[in-house]
């Protein structure tokens, strides 16, 4: 049974006086308006945040219809997990119209997890190793060594993010920044500089999904597959005291392959995609991990504009996490919102030319989780 997206919305990301929950209410209302569906018609809802409370409290604002509303808290895969639940609710006959919503709001600065929550000795915290950005630096450092990725290419990824962000009304970082400025913005964790990183922020995104019969006659995008996977043996993850021998595996590779298989569509068919870009290196590596190119081939693609909006494979057309910031619970659905907007041909200044019909989204996060979707118009 096919599942369709008939409403999609997001709030402006960044830093405001709004609570994360208020972002969630706004995104949910806007998605319902976009769908032309009243809240009372929604038969089930799934959603959550990582750090801004429970999604089921939204009923106080949306209406006390008695709808079953399941809270999802699954780190970077919160949006993806809400989507899978929505798909299953529709396929299982629980409801024919379902809301999925993700929102968040984080304090300024890097995330600061505690070692005991990760099963690590407190020495890892005391000596300064509980820093996520270190891991990102170390992963791309090794990858760049193996596959010849240059600092210039890392800067070009961020330059594109800010350029696409400047064309996205709801993005946080809307000022273009040149590759030279990015390279000179100060080293944070070698080889990554300040402007190559996203920042924790706030925002929300929501989708209204429905069954094939409800979708009839509407402007829909089909959700061909939604997949979440946890890490396979041998992957290199944040906060790992050890890494086993051999070439590291990737949960993103596992999740992307499963999403493509379930959709019956391959990476070569994708015309617009959103890849987790916690920092520039992540986008470079995820291009290959998700099957869009060979390892090292990025150096033949990125400097030549292949991942730009007018390129062969437009990546992170809304500026991704680098330009939108990272509200953990919202990012996954923000990506789906962006692809839906592109496939509907409503992306304005940042519209991918040639009326794209196939899209892909990918998130990756700690402790080794990835969520992917394949969408078609």
């Amino acid at each position: 049974m096919s599942v369709h997206i008939i409403g999609a919305a997001r709030t402006p990301f960044g830093r405001t006086e709004l609570s994360g929950r208020e972002h969630g209410v706004r995104a949910a209302r806007a998605a319902l308006v976009d769908a032309g569906i009243p809240w009372s018609r929604v038969g089930a809802a799934f959603g959550g945040s990582d750090a801004a409370g429970n999604a089921d409290t939204l009923v106080a604002d949306l209406g006390l219809t008695g709808v079953p509303f399941v809270n999802v808290r699954n780190g970077c895969a919160t949006g993806g997990s809400a989507l899978i639940s929505a798909v299953n609710a529709i396929r299982g006959g629980m409801a024919d119209v379902v809301l999925a919503v993700g929102f968040d709001k984080h304090p300024r600065g890097a995330f600061d997890p505690r070692p005991e929550e990760w099963g690590l000795d407190e020495a890892y915290g005391r000596e300064g190793l509980m820093v996520t950005t270190q891991f990102f630096g170390m992963k791309i450092q090794r990858y760049a060594h193996n596959h010849g990725i240059t600092p210039r290419t890392l800067a070009l990824v961020a330059e594109k993010a800010y350029r696409n962000g400047s064309r996205t009304p709801e993005a946080w970082r809307r000022k273009e920044i040149t590759a030279d400025e990015i390279l000179e913005s100060g080293m944070v964790n070698d080889p990554l500089t300040r402007f190559m990183f996203c920042s924790p922020g706030e925002g929300a995104a929501a989708l209204v999904l429905c069954s094939e019969s409800v979708a009839q006659g509407r402007d829909t995008v089909e959700l061909r597959s939604a997949v979440v996977r946890t890490r396979p043996p041998g992957s290199f993850e944040v906060f790992s005291p050890r890494l086993e021998a051999g070439t590291p595996t990737s949960v993103s590779t596992v999740a992307a392959a499963a999403a493509f298989e379930a959709a019956g569509i391959g990476p070569e068919d994708v015309e617009v995609c959103q890849l987790q870009d916690t920092e520039s290196g992540a986008e470079v590596m995820h291009l290959a991990e998700c099957g869009f190119c060979e390892h090292g081939e990025q150096e033949k693609l990125i400097p030549f504009g292949a991942t730009e909006i007018g390129g062969m494979l437009p990546v992170n057309t809304d500026g991704g996490c680098i330009a939108n910031g990272e509200p953990i619970g919202a990012s996954g659905l923000r990506q789906v919102y962006e692809v839906v907007t592109q496939l509907r041909g409503r992306a304005g200044e940042r519209q991918v030319p040639g009326a794209p019909t196939v899209g892909f989204t990918h998130v990756y996060g700690a402790p080794g989780v990835s969520a992917c979707t394949v969408l078609t118009s």
Binding site: P115, G125, E127, G128, M130, H145, D190, R242
Partner: protein
């Protein structure tokens, strides 16, 4: 104690949030961290007590009670 080579590294250029980080008595200074590859191919995360780390650098791992592993350059 075990010998190996540097598999990857970065430099922590900003002071991590406290807690949990405990700044040294003279204040934060950037430090290197990385993974040391051992003879069996496995890699151990360690603070690198070295200048100018590079991939392939020969290192010696050690660990004192209550600390994370540290690595020093093999002369």
């Amino acid at each position: 104690m075990a010998d190996g080579t540097l598999w990857t590294w970065t430099v922590q250029r900003f002071a991590p949030k406290s807690p949990p980080y405990v700044s040294p008595p003279n204040g934060f200074t950037p430090f290197a961290v990385g993974y040391v590859e051992l003879a069996d191919g496995s890699r151990v995360e360690a603070v690198l007590d070295v200048e100018d780390p590079y991939i392939g650098m020969p290192l010696r791992l050690s660990q004192e009670a209550g600390q994370v592993p540290h690595a020093r350059e093999v002369e």
